[in-house]
């Protein structure tokens, strides 16, 4: 059951990816941007840093503040895309990865925050918080970061 669903999802994702590459200019693209508190001095984040933050590694940002990732709820489109692009894991793999981590006593997944609005609030208030949003959900309360120096509009921007 799970296998079949995973297979279907995977096929759909592949198909969608193909379609996106084909129809990039035709439809508005679904793009994720990392966000930090509006007061944060951070402007950019590398894919490596992003991966390490969201695999719960202890990592300090500017000013020595520990960087803490906050996820979107699992099963959400943003979370699926984020895991696939940043961690290189589909949802099943991601689930298994975290179970494995927990069994080994290594790390826990970053906390998931239930709603986009709350996520923006949490990221804004929690020192060193790093989250991600679909570009459509962005507002002025948080700061969107460039990834590996690339803006979300740039063609080489990875989180899409």
């Amino acid at each position: 059951m799970l296998g079949r669903r995973t297979f279907l999802q995977a096929s759909a994702a592949l198909l969608a990816a193909g379609l996106e590459s084909e129809l990039a200019l035709a439809a508005p693209a679904y793009v994720l941007v990392p966000i930090v508190a509006s007061s944060s001095p951070m402007r950019d984040i590398s894919m490596g840093t992003l991966r390490r933050v969201f695999t719960s590694e202890q990592l300090s940002g500017p000013g020595g503040v520990r960087l803490v990732g906050f996820n979107q709820p699992s099963g959400s489109r943003a979370r699926d895309l984020f895991d696939r692009v940043v961690l290189g894991l589909d949802p099943d793999q991601a689930a298994r990865f975290w179970v494995d981590q927990r069994i080994r006593g290594l790390a826990r997944p970053p906390r998931a925050v239930g709603s986009v609005a709350l996520l923006r609030d949490v990221v804004n208030r929690y020192p060193g918080a790093v989250g991600y949003l679909a570009t459509s959900d962005l507002d002025a309360s948080v700061r969107a970061l460039t990834v590996n120096g690339a803006d979300a509009d740039a063609p080489q921007y990875p989180l899409r």
Binding site: L118, Y126, P127
Partner: protein, 736 residues
């Protein structure tokens, strides 16, 4: 009724001690009620307390757990709400708690300690924050707090308090129940006390009063019965004293020369006087038995002799009525038993006397059996001596049988009754038999006559010693040169006693008081003192004690002489130091028997014996025989004497022959036989010679055997001459 024992009701504890008084009872009942109510109250309060404490404990645990889990859960579920100070989210997180019945207070604070949300009343809660998630108990609530932490960063805290209202309500209910219980208990106590006071105590008072009344009534009744008894005893005693004079004088008068008419009158008088004496004795006996102070004096005696004596005693009366009186003893009856012979004679005499009285023709038969108890002594399975007295009289109607053994009742209770008597005889018999541990009864015979029977426990013993008291030797008085001192204040008694003593061949000195007696004993040498017990001034007991004190151990037989026929008198005289006992009215035979006993056993005085007394050491030729033959109404049939005189010469011939042939066994056998017949006739000298001969045959050398045989023959010659002489004298008197 001297020294009678009062029943326990009178002697012992009065009713007040047997029964607690009303007041004491009330106190006890009150205490009991208090105790009961107190116990019940304590028990129920313990029960309630147990229930409540278990409920309280579980409720407390519940509240503690809820507080602890609550803050833990809230700190997790509301973390982002706390971080973002999002009130709707906080409310959403806390809504399950605020809706709880035990909820008192919840507060969320941010990391800066600013309250983000507060619900409920936090007043009175402890301010100091203990360890996280520890439960703090205050008077109002169980409260706990926990930090809200996101990824190791404390972003705020949450505090939750749960009200103790439910617990307090439980405690309040418990207190209310206790108070109610106490009120109820007090009410119950009050009701109980009221009940005790209003119902139980009056009943107790009535019971107490009734018991006291009963006791008083019983005391009065017993005292009156005792007074009557005492009166009877006193009267009987008062009558006995003058009777003494009457009977004594009659006896003396009978010994004088009289015309046939005079003799008949005197005989009738004597019989009447004896009947009267018997009535008086009956009454005395009965009062004594009734008072329960009767002392039995069991002694070894022979049933055969007792039966023979009684039958002999009644033989004349039976003959006068033309009745056949016989006795039969079963082989199983032992030679000797332990019983009170006087009482046995009294019982048997009464039954035989009754049988003779009520039987007009036919026979009266006494049968004696021994062995395991018959059907009549149901209460014991021990061997019993059973005596039956059967007659051929009219018998007793069944309706009257139940009254047989009751006091003061004769079967024909009407004034025209045909038979005299006090009606006490059978009642006395019954009491005596029961006192001896036996049973008495009556059964109608099929042929119509009556059968009275009694059974006594059979206590075997060694055969009684046939001594000086044996009948036939009663009047055998050793000759005594020293006078007898008679002490009595009553002149009639003095005359009677002096005459009787002199008729026995004794010299008599008289003292009229205890003091005189003491002085007389000091100055004179007396063989014996006959002491009246009741005297004005120094009485007989005291005088005896004084004499004993003065004699300092020197032997002097003192015989009490008293009108009291009571058994306890015997103890009293013994305690006073007297050797024997005689009741008034004195009868010649009794007197002779006692004197014989006392003088016969009296040791010789320490002074050198005169020639006469040395001669006495040789036994008299004839002892009992002479006196016996001299008395009217022969005990021993002259036939026995005749047989003795006929047979003895043959025996002596055989004896001489055996001695000549030195057949010692044969000599012993004949000597033994001769000793028996001589002894039974009272031929003491001959009997003693026979005994010596018997002894000599056991000595192998048989020394002096021949001399003894010769002496024996000589003694017999003298004896036979004396016997013939006496026989002739008796026959002359028997046919005047």
């Amino acid at each position: 009724m001297h020294g009678s024992t009062s029943p326990a009701l009178l002697a012992g504890s009065p009713v007040a001690e047997l029964l607690p008084s009303g007041a004491r009872m009330q106190v006890r009942l009150t205490l009991l009620m208090l105790l009961l109510v107190g116990l019940l109250t304590a028990l129920s309060s313990l029960l309630v307390r147990g229930v409540f404490s278990s409920i309280t404990a579980s409720l407390t645990n519940d509240l503690r757990w809820k507080a602890q889990r609550g803050v833990a859960e809230l700190s997790y579920s509301a973390d982002f709400a706390v971080l973002t100070a999002n009130e709707p989210l906080l409310l959403e997180a806390a809504k399950h708690y605020t809706a709880d019945a035990d909820f008192l207070y919840v507060r969320f604070r941010n990391a800066q300690g600013q309250a983000l949300l507060e619900r409920g009343s936090g007043a009175g809660l402890p301010a100091a924050e203990e360890l996280p998630e520890a439960v703090v108990e205050s008077s109002l609530a169980f409260s706990s707090w926990a930090p809200v932490v996101i990824e190791g960063l404390r972003v705020g805290d949450v505090t939750l308090a749960l009200s103790k209202q439910r617990l307090q309500a439980g405690t309040q209910l418990y207190r209310r129940m206790l108070v109610l219980g106490l009120l109820g208990a007090s009410a119950a106590l009050a009701v109980a006390l009221w009940f005790v006071r209003s119902y139980v105590v009056p009943i107790l008072r009535v019971t107490e009063r009734t018991a006291l009344e009963l006791q008083r009534t019983a005391k009065i009744a017993l005292a009156s019965a005792e007074a009557k008894s005492q009166f009877l005893a006193n009267m009987s005693h008062e009558i006995r004293t003058p009777m003494n004079g009457v009977l004594g004088m009659l006896q003396l008068a009978q010994q004088t020369d009289l015309s046939a008419v005079q003799r008949r009158y005197l005989d009738i008088m004597s019989t009447s006087a004896r009947s009267l004496l018997k009535v008086v004795n009956d009454i005395l006996n009965f009062s004594k038995l009734n008072a329960g102070g009767y002392q039995l004096r069991p002694e070894p005696c022979s049933p055969r002799e007792l039966i023979e004596e009684t039958v002999t005693l009644f033989a004349q009366r039976a003959a006068e009525k033309g009745l056949q009186l016989s006795a039969e003893l079963a082989a199983s009856v032992p030679d000797a038993v332990l019983l009170d012979a006087d009482r046995f004679r009294q019982i048997l005499g009464n039954l035989v006397g009754n049988a003779l009285k009520f039987t007009d023709r036919g026979s009266v038969k006494v049968s004696v059996f021994a062995g395991p108890a018959g059907p009549h002594l149901a209460s014991s399975s021990a061997p019993a001596l059973e005596v039956y007295v059967d007659d051929t009289g009219p018998g007793i109607p069944e309706s009257e049988q139940s009254r047989l053994f009751q006091a003061f009742s004769q079967v024909d209770g009407s004034s025209r009754r045909a038979h005299e008597g006090t009606g006490l005889g059978l009642a006395i018999c019954k009491q005596l038999v029961e006192l001896m541990g036996g049973a008495i009864g009556y059964r109608q015979q099929e042929a119509g006559g009556s059968r009275f029977y009694f059974a006594l426990p059979l206590n075997g013993c060694a055969p009684p010693q046939l001594g000086a008291a044996a009948p036939g030797q009663r009047l055998a008085l050793p000759r005594n040169d020293r006078p007898v001192l008679l002490v009595d204040d009553n002149e009639v008694n003095q005359i009677v006693a002096v005459e009787l003593l002199e008729s026995l061949g004794l010299r008599v000195d008289v003292a009229s008081s205890g003091q005189d007696a003491v002085e007389a004993v000091q100055s004179g040498d007396y063989a014996l003192v006959l002491m009246d017990c009741q005297m004005p001034g120094m009485d007989g007991y005291e005088a005896t004690r004084e004499i004993r004190r003065q004699l300092q151990g020197r032997k002097l037989p003192i015989v009490a002489f008293t009108a009291h026929a009571l058994a306890e008198e015997r103890d009293k005289v013994q305690q006073a130091g007297m050797d024997d006992y005689l009741t008034k009215p004195i009868e010649l035979e009794q007197l002779a028997a006692v004197l014989s006993r006392q003088l016969g056993s009296a040791p010789r005085s320490a002074s050198p014996a005169p020639a006469a007394s040395r001669a006495r050491s040789q036994p008299p030729l004839l002892d009992a025989m002479a006196a016996e033959l001299l008395q009217p109404g022969l005990r021993r049939p002259p036939k026995a004497v005749e047989a003795f005189l006929r047979q003895t010469p043959e025996e002596l011939t055989l004896l001489r022959k055996a001695a000549a042939e030195r057949r010692h066994d044969e000599v012993g056998r004949i000597a033994h036989k001769l000793k028996g017949s001589a002894g039974s006739l009272g031929a003491l000298q001959l009997a003693r010679l026979c005994e010596g001969l018997q002894h000599a045959t056991k000595d192998p050398s048989a020394e002096g055997l021949g001399e003894l045989v010769v002496a024996l023959g000589h003694s017999y010659q003298q004896l036979s001459a004396a016997l013939r002489e006496l026989q002739q004298a008796a026959s002359e008197r028997g046919a005047p």
